[in-house]
């Protein structure tokens, strides 16, 4: 496996991309065009397009790296690949409808670089499905009304389609994490290792996974999170927001 160093941390090297893409290490290296104008929406669609492609790539390496995984799980991952393909195609179609194109903005592949370093399948499910995909449910719940307010119902509709699929991805991630930990308590250690790795990368790269995004309780319930788990995410979110308010008040 080829690796690269980002802010002193060794992560998996980028997946293959066409020469039209400028690749940066972190999203914060891409200047954010604020507001909900057409340029911002193009930039966002471009970023989400590449995020979906990374999701295909992560699901695909879960299939190839773990040939002895239960067949039912490999089947779920294969189906996920197709879902993410459709999501990427939907987002590219919207980007092109708004006059944008592939390679218009720089891209970062941090999800891939982070998850691709985790050496257990249960660890990858804990991070990719239970954390990143579950986090995207929260992000989409905020984004969909913003796109509607901006008069872009087509993009909002596309995001609703995507959200419905992501709920299932999070749900099967939850189910398989539970099955792995029920079958072998050592799986909990693999999850703890993966979570520690996520924290290390987030700390090094300055990311804030729940920054300013309210937890989408309904979608998380559908995705199989328990009340206690959702409550824990909400508690973390409140802690982060309280910290932000204190910092702002200084």
């Amino acid at each position: 496996m080829r690796t690269k160093r980002v802010r002193g941390i060794e992560v998996r090297d980028d997946p293959a991309r066409e020469p039209c893409f400028e690749i940066v290490h972190l999203h914060e290296d891409i200047p954010d065009i604020g507001g909900m104008g057409i340029e911002h929406r193009r930039q966002r669609l471009h970023r989400e397009y590449n995020q979906e492609v990374q999701a295909i790539e992560v699901a695909a390496i879960c299939i190839t790296d773990f040939p002895d995984a239960p067949w039912e799980l490999r089947l779920e991952l294969a189906r996920q690949c197709w879902d993410e393909v459709r999501h990427a195609a939907l987002l590219l179609r919207r980007l092109q409808a708004l006059g944008g194109h592939k390679g218009q903005y720089p891209i970062a592949n941090l999800n891939w670089s982070l998850v691709g370093m985790i050496d257990s399948l249960v660890g990858r499910l804990a991070i990719q499905h239970r954390t990143f995909e579950a986090g995207s449910l929260d992000v989409e719940a905020v984004a969909i009304p913003l796109f509607r307010e901006a008069g872009d119902d087509e993009t909002a509709d596309a995001m609703e389609v995507i959200e419905a699929d992501e709920i299932h991805h999070v749900r099967f991630g939850n189910e398989w994490v539970k099955r792995f930990t029920d079958a072998d308590p050592r799986a909990v250690l693999e999850i703890a290792k993966a979570v520690a790795w996520l924290k290390r990368v987030v700390a090094a790269t300055g990311g804030e996974p729940l920054h300013d995004i309210p937890t989408e309780r309904d979608a998380r319930e559908l995705a199989g999170f328990s009340d206690a788990e959702i409550g824990e995410v909400e508690r973390i979110e409140q802690t982060i927001n309280a910290g932000n308010e204190c910092s702002a008040g200084k």
Partner: protein, 187 residues
């Protein structure tokens, strides 16, 4: 002549193995293929291969084999699959899958359908007929993509022909016992 349960099981389990290989090969190529359209096509078609493997794997348990039983193909066919797995340029990857592996697989399915009894082996027949339709769709999808993006066409006909010949030389099923021989063995 009705193919024996053993012969049908061997064919189905071997085809399952090949479809799992197809799923894994396309999955392996998703991150290492730079062109987004191709990456997305592999991402979609690996799901087709997975569904085919799943249907065939359920059928193995109806043919006196374990559920989702895999039988490795004959050595020559494994060598052919290894040749394909090692291909790196995108144009060659596309040609290998869509000009050689899938048409070859379809030909093996059709030959089996010609041999097997459509009543005795109706569940396998239904499965393979559905898979043939899917393969047609996959091939059409690749033709459409290459027509939109002509740079993806492989112009090296010699390379494709050589791979086709390698595929055509081998019967994927490792152990092929004809019915009279099988009866003789049993006797």
């Amino acid at each position: 002549m009705i193919l024996s349960v053993k012969e049908r099981g061997q064919f189905v389990a071997t085809m399952r193995h090949i479809n799992v290989w197809l799923m894994e090969t396309m999955a392996g190529w998703v991150p290492s293929t730079p062109e987004m359209e191709v990456k997305l096509q592999f991402g979609e078609h690996l799901w087709d291969a997975a569904q085919h493997a799943d249907a065939l794997g359920k059928r193995t348990s109806e043919l006196r084999m374990p559920l989702h039983h895999n039988l490795p193909p004959a050595k020559e066919y494994i060598d052919f699959l290894n040749t394909v797995s090692g291909v790196e340029p995108t144009q060659q990857r596309l040609a290998a899958i869509y000009d050689v592996v899938l048409p070859g697989l379809a030909a093996h399915y059709r030959r089996f359908l010609d041999k097997t009894d459509s009543l005795a082996d109706a569940p396998t027949v239904r499965i393979l007929e559905r898979h043939l339709n899917d393969i047609d769709r996959m091939l059409q999808s690749n033709r459409d993509m290459c027509s939109d993006l002509p740079d993806l066409f492989l112009n090296d006909k010699t390379w494709i022909d050589a791979l086709r010949e390698q595929e055509a030389r081998c019967d994927p099923v490792a152990i092929s016992i004809t019915e009279p021989e099988a009866r003789a063995v049993e006797a």
